[in-house]
Amino acid sequence: MKVADFNGQKSDGPGWNLSERIWGYAFVAPAMTLVSLMALAPIGAALWLSLRHRLPIFGVDEFVGLANYLDLLGDERFWATLRTTLYFTGLSVGLELPIGLGLALLLDALTDERTRFGRLAQTVAIVPWAVPTVVSAQMWLWLYQPDYGLLNYVLARIGITVPIDWLADPRWAIHAAVIMEVWKTTPFAALMLLAGLKALPWELRAAARVDGAGWWDGFRSITLPLLTPVILITLVFRTMDAVRVFDAVYVLTGGGPGNTTETLSIYAYKTLFQSLQLGYGSALATAMFLISAILSSFYVLLLRRRMRDTT
């Protein structure tokens, strides 16, 4: 192999390098084996299914090539759910990241004071992420109730007396879902970013966190660039999760009203498990996968350039 690998690491001699590489493969092997067996194989099965017409109720099971994908292109419901998914993803990730970053900075400042207070704050911030989705979706369903939900009650108390039909109003429903998602997943972003912050060298962070006029400049010129890899990873995983959001929105709205909150995975779920068009449903899932892949590779390109720059 070349003496320098992709991030410019120098090797210290041919013999050593070889054994290093063997160690490397040995380290990678267990994880890769498990992932291949338990994830890549089922993915292969799903991809294969997407090339077939498979309708158990009709006894149909035949290879059709790309027919399902061509059907997809002419399927209005697919395009509508795609738009909904992208809107949902863009809005929720766009909100989570800045809020999460702010939260992470706050927690970072607090925990550095080494008080119990800081750790308590950290725990509190994680709580929404710790509530199981099955429960949190029901919880929000209840908060959004126009008649006895807390949200409208609080809004009425602070002077907004026109009750909002959070879930029945086609303009509001998707935003209600976004609010729920942001509440639930901001802690994830915050925690990832907090870990990134904690991994930065102490002096740098101290320098960047001086109170006063220079704070923003310090943050922008020192902290942010160093944090970029972690930000990108957070983006990758949050985007992936948002693109395939299912349980939460399904429990909240079932895709309604008037299909305004039907995301790709709700559509795929209904196609796979309700109307049992297994081939077509798999094609829908593959489309979701491709969207995630495109978005992620965009981030990964950024990430790799960044990592090459910094290491």
């Binding site: 109730q145 029945a168 709205t253 895709g255 009203p257 008037g258 498990f273 109307s275």
Partner: protein, 425 residues
Amino acid sequence: MTRAWILLFLMSVLGCTQRDDAPDAASTVLIFKHGRLSGDERMLTGLLREFERRHPGVTVREEVLPSSSDQQHQYYTMNLDGGRAPFDVLSLDVIWVQEFAKAGWIAPLDDLPPTIRREDFFPGPIEAATWDGELYAVPWYIDAGVLYYRKDLLERYALDSPRTWPELLRAARLVLDAERDPTLVGFVWQGKQYEGLVCVTLEVLRSNGSDLWAGDRDRAEEGLQFLRDLVWTYKISPLSIGMADEDSTRLLFGEGRALFMRNWPYAWSLLQREGSPVRGKIGVVPIPAFPGFSGVSVLGGWLLAVAKHSPHQKEARDLIGFLTSPDVQRRMAMELGYNPTRIALYAEQTMLDAKPIFKDLFPIFLSARPRPITPYYLLLSQAAQPELSALVVGTKDPRDVLRAVRRQGDWLLPRLARASADGEP
């Protein structure tokens, strides 16, 4: 220390996966998969033990699924489509029987115990469970849409319970105007984008002599218009109806904040329990109709079937025979509040004494009509739900909705029938 923990963990994993069913050679293990029942689950467990006592050598293991219809359908189809399913007896929603029968997932029940005779059961579920002339499932408990009303409020204004939709409108308008209570609404029903909305729509359209996927177009459109007008023109249903499901309407009505409610019979005992604000103030009548037609409830309920490839066909049928026997149905009605599927039980005096509501429900069950009896029902329903929801929240007008739904039906059905013919070996 860490190592000890890991060891402990591994041991507990292994310990937990030790199956405790190592049966003695002679015994047959029947796996009975069903959605969770409301109320005390020990009741059903007790019944199964009794079955085991009566059938020595047979052990029944219950595997409970969440009661959500969607999750059950997902579980069953995934298992049945993937070859030999790990269960013998399963409970089915009334709308699935045709689908499962057509797919060859459940066995025809030609040689049932003699205690099961079709004519003993309500005709609706039997019709829904018959495919190609053969019975594929036995009705376990029955459901049908009914109209709940506030007896006290109607009496206050000397009104009768409504038999037609115009009467309901008039009554609601009158009471709402007179009561001047901003928290009171006229009529609540299930308007969320899901199966419940299809049921409501079918009831309204059928009570106008039409239907959703077939039948007279003008009258169907009139029905859809009515549904939409309830919210947008007559304003006796709140805007929030667009997200209402069974339980949210039950809660609203149960707080005394609605005059009428369309729901299933399950709500009755919850509304009548101790501490309920509407206890003793409510009544149940059949779904109203448009003048000149009669109201028709949509049939719900669950049935029992045998997995096609179960090796214990006979024992499975015995279990179904036991669970749908008059005796067990009587106990499930008394103790859990599930409505029996056997007609004769509704004439028993002890039953009527314990559950007076059965007198009101009986004619409704007797005339309840299943949703379209076709293996493709879920496909149709799934395609129609977004359209109907758009109607309710006012983003689409009835003409467009009807056109879209009918087009889906016309497009799907022949196409699927052809695909099916091609696929036949």
